[in-house]
């Protein structure tokens, strides 16, 4: 294995649309395959014992076992890392698995996390119940209240957590201000960027340290696959004294000091070589292939998603049977300044509104729509509708529902890329039947 001697490459800064098609893939040297091949294999033949040892010691980049790494999955990971302006990424079997692994890598029993209260219900469950099982404390804060974030920091705090656009209430996170607050306390800011996608917002460019996605949503867009991904900036100083779990010699990896040894790549190496190794939750090569097909058209889909969402939100705002439309791009929204700063290309395509008639009104609308799909998902190219109080946020008490911005009549929409007049026609006739 000798150094190759090709001519040095170009140094052009390629555009987003180019990178969503090309980043992470070099045409396969063996076959020339233009598409990313599906490497549907559990294991890899080693050249010799020395090479195998070098791979397991992390002294050389080499494939060992598909629970930890796979060339198809790696192409997807690099593509998302590139689009998010991160230093790298690790993919997982779901967004929830990605989130758990991102937290596992930096937390120990007795630690503490400060989190926005306006989150996806599944994330609330994970943070509230799973972290407690692991003896990690949690403080919920109103994401709009910067003083609350700062005031919640304790000696054992290890991270700030929030969503770029909160699910489902559409609260927009002030990422730059929160990153400054987190860094003032030597803490990383973790941002779930699922609703914005890297096309609309790149939290790392505003100072976030770790970005999480449910790839199931807009990144895939087709609604065929469950998956998630963790991206890291590579700029957080994990050796600042607060994170011995990353900086000190690791008993789980024969004394390796991940941050010192891998520098910029230390957190991600630990996330892969220890957390993914030990928790599993690996993304399958086939699902990674499907996500790669989706992400190739991310910018085109997002342009249509945000435009359709704007039109639907304006329709609802003018409708007598709808109120409290939370689309943060509407002129009346308190989040307009944050949208202008962080989401100039559009304020996403997921928002909620309250149906007249409360719980019954909401359920009646769900029963009567014909084109919107009644599903527990968002970010599909098809338009989706759900009643959170009966479904995604069902495990939450009234106070938690309120903190998450959900009332009994709240309907959550994920606006797809159909002909927008058809989407409005369906809501119009559905709302008319709730009278």
């Amino acid at each position: 294995m000798t150094a190759e001697h090709d001519q040095p490459g170009e140094t052009r800064a390629f555009g987003f649309e180019t990178r969503q098609l090309h980043a992470g893939q070099r045409p396969d040297p063996n076959t020339g395959a233009r598409a990313v091949p599906i490497f549907q294999t559990a294991s890899y033949v080693f050249e010799d014992p020395e090479s195998a040892a070098a791979y397991f010691n992390l002294q050389e980049y080499g494939n060992t076992y598909s629970r930890i790494m796979n060339p198809t999955v790696a192409a997807f990971e690099e593509r998302v890392a590139n689009l998010e302006a991160g230093v790298g990424a690790v993919a997982f079997a779901s967004g929830i698995a990605a989130q758990a692994a991102a937290l596992f890598t930096l937390l120990e029993p007795g630690d503490h996390v400060v989190s926005s209260s306006a989150l996806y219900g599944g994330t609330v469950n994970q943070l509230k119940h799973l972290l407690r099982k692991l003896s990690v404390e949690l403080t919920w804060v109103d994401p709009d209240d910067l003083d609350a974030w700062r005031g919640a920091v304790q000696a054992n705090t290890k991270a700030f957590f929030g969503e770029t656009i909160g699910n489902p209430a559409g609260k927009v996170l002030d990422i730059e201000a929160l990153a400054v607050a987190a860094h003032d306390h030597d803490l990383p800011l973790i941002v779930d960027n699922t609703f914005a996608t890297p096309y609309l917002c790149r939290p790392i460019e505003w100072g976030a340290d770790i970005v999480i996605h449910s790839a199931t949503k807009f990144i895939g867009g087709h609604g065929t696959s469950i998956g998630g991904v963790v991206v890291e900036s590579g700029t957080f100083d994990w050796s600042n004294g607060r994170f011995p779990v990353i900086a000190d010699p690791s008993p789980a990896y024969h004394g390796l000091q991940f941050h010192e040894t891998f520098g910029t790549y230390g957190y991600l190496m630990k996330l892969r070589a220890e957390t993914l190794r030990d928790l599993g939750g690996t993304l399958s090569p086939f699902n990674a292939f499907l996500f790669l097909q989706g992400v190739e058209t991310l910018s085109l889909r997002m342009e249509r998603h945000v435009e359709n969402a704007r039109v639907v939100a304006e329709f609802l705002e003018a409708h007598e049977l709808a109120s409290n439309v939370t689309h943060p791009g509407l002129p009346a929204s308190r989040y307009r300044p944050l949208v202008a700063k962080y989401l100039p290309g559009g304020a996403g395509a997921v928002f909620s509104f309250d149906c007249a008639g409360g719980r019954e009104g909401g359920q009646s609308l769900i029963r009567n729509v014909k084109l919107w799909s009644h599903v527990a998902n968002v970010g599909d190219a098809k338009s989706l509708i759900i009643h959170p109080a009966s479904t995604t946020h069902r495990q939450l008490g009234d106070a938690e529902l309120e903190a998450a911005g959900v009332s009994p009549g709240t309907i959550r929409l994920s606006v797809g890329i159909e002909s927008v007049e058809d989407l409005i026609w369906d809501l119009e006739q559905g709302l008319a039947r709730t009278r």
Partner: protein, 160 residues
Amino acid sequence: MIDLARYHDPLTIQRLLHRARTIAIVGLSANELRPSNFVGFYLQRHGYRVIPVNPRETEILGEVSHPSLSDVPERVDIVNVFRAPAALPAIAEEAVAIGAGALWCQFGVINEEGARIAEEGGLEIVMDRCLKVEHARYIGRMHWLGFNTQQITSVRGGLQ
């Protein structure tokens, strides 16, 4: 403030990786868990001749360890530095004196005076970058681990 971007030029980095044969590693550790040992081991696997420079050792990675750069009896293409930033000016002077081709300082090994000495001595300089990472980015297999190599190409590559 030192302008590090000057020392991160992708074309310089790739030219050095492709042309270098002999790399002297100043501060190479015999401890297999140290970052310098990771880098030396990796470079050997990829066909470079690695010359250890460490006065506390006699042999590292199967090669004779020399007390200082001035004691290295052969031509050095890259002087790769794993020392405290304050040690850099003296190392740069030695690198100039032995006629080395380039000075490559690892993550955090940043010293303006050292850079100036090497530059005035006619050496190419890379600073605050890892030789292993840059090799893996342009020539090696960094893309197998989901790292952002920032490489965009539709050209069919060589076998790895």
